[in-house]
Symmetry: C2
């Protein structure tokens, strides 16, 4: 995600990389599970020295959901908080996109699951899911923002709700100390004329070659829970952290190049928020 200050010149170009989607965040919400787990608790369990997690990845604590805090329920709490912040009634939502890298069930997807947990199960509000692993929220944001910009939708909820704690591999300190559970939601709407909020440019790259660097191999039709060749670890999250970071670092310049920013525009970039721990 790149945040830029707007420039009058941006609005002139036609069929340029400039999108100029006039969208803003009307409300934000989150839900964190009640149980807060200190790194020391995990470190004692797996037998690494206290402080290893903080030193290795900067994580001092995380939250883990209990069985009553299902992903769709957590997502609904975050969504309702976003609506409350915006002062918008749940029935005023035109679109709900579940944007989670982890699913609660295989079928149906999390869209109708969250909708139902919000008390909107008979509303008919269109609800579906986008899955792009860790970038699911960004992928869904693009879809929602485009529909708002085009005037097809007035208000859209984008919700990510993740429960990683059920799939942690306690034989891999790097993984089991890194991930927690939680949910976030944004309510998006058209930016009013006195608000400068906009999505200016989007660039997206996918390299499937590296599919095994961060993976849960099972829980689908391959290494299905009932298949005779399925291993215990197939239902767990597996990550080669260093190799992933290396690829992300290698590809970042190409990504930025795809945004098509000239030197003056690059100067105006204020924040770069990379997705890497």
């Amino acid at each position: 995600m790149v945040t830029m200050e707007p420039s009058p010149a941006d609005a002139v170009a036609c069929r340029s990389p400039e999108l100029g989607w006039r969208v803003r965040i009307a409300g934000m919400g989150r839900y964190l599970p009640r149980r807060r787990v200190a790194s020391a608790e995990i470190e004692a369990r797996i037998g690494v020295r206290e402080g290893w997690s903080l030193a290795h990845s900067g994580v001092a604590f995380r939250h883990w959901a209990d069985p009553s805090e299902r992903a769709s329920w957590m997502g609904a709490q975050a969504a309702m908080a976003a609506l409350q912040q915006a002062g918008v009634d749940p029935a005023g939502v035109d679109l709900i996109i579940n944007a989670s890298g982890s699913a609660e069930r295989a079928i149906p997807d999390g869209g109708p699951m969250i909708q139902q947990e919000m008390g909107l199960g008979e509303s008919g509000i269109p609800s579906f899911s986008v899955h792009a692993t860790c970038l699911s929220f960004i992928a869904a944001l693009e879809i929602a923002a485009e529909r708002i910009h085009q005037g097809r939708v007035d208000r859209a909820l984008v919700v990510s709700s993740e429960i990683a704690s059920v799939a942690l591999d306690f034989d891999t300190p790097e993984v089991c100390t890194l991930f927690g559970d939680g949910a976030v939601a944004w309510l998006l709407e058209r930016a009013p004329t006195d608000c400068a909020s906009a999505i200016h440019r989007i660039a997206w790259m996918t390299n499937g070659l590296h599919r095994d660097l961060t993976t849960v191999r099972g829980c689908g039709s391959f290494r299905h829970p009932h298949s005779s060749d399925t291993l215990h670890g197939d239902a767990l999250f597996q990550m080669e952290g260093r190799a992933t970071l290396r690829q992300a670092t290698r590809l970042a310049p190409q990504m930025l190049a795809r945004l098509g920013l000239d030197a003056e525009q690059r100067e105006r970039v204020r924040w770069i928020a990379p997705h890497q721990a």
Copy 2:
């Protein structure tokens, strides 16, 4: 999906339900697993009389994938066939959307998996997944078509690849005789001026209240394969066919009403393709 003959009047209305997205199918492809399974084979296995499946649901045979025919591999075969029909090089694709109700793995999603199986794993071509259970293809079609119409994308692949056979419940004749495996792909592009192909209107309703009518309860964070309360059936597809059909029938008039067709436009609807066996 509603197919209409175009009318000159449609183009006039501004901010009407009429989208007028100028998109066409440049190529279609499919892949069917090598193993074709006659209904009689399943009927003998589960102990119902021969001919029950054909009489009950009209299914005489289906295909089941073997372990070498993974979902992303099947999807790639379908995608390559669609490209071949269109005479388009794989590198000429700007977007790949995996639109499957069943996943091959939990992480990553099927987008990069299919991309890699197409030999495009280092191409950077944006690839992600849309999940809306049986309507995943339609949901992805909307996203791809909108981007083509807006000129953000020239060519998009929408790919559905489903392996149901690993999750069949052989205690439920209605389910285990109904579902098979296979993959389809469409290559979409802007319709040339001499081609009338267009997406005119889209209406979408989601009622999460009925989430349990067709479901795979497990394989996610709820009833995770390693959870102590997970049951064998949680990894299997479960369906209340009659109740699902009843809801679909009840809601169909509302769906059609949302399309906003007047009497003359309704007259011009030539095909309605309901998703029900």
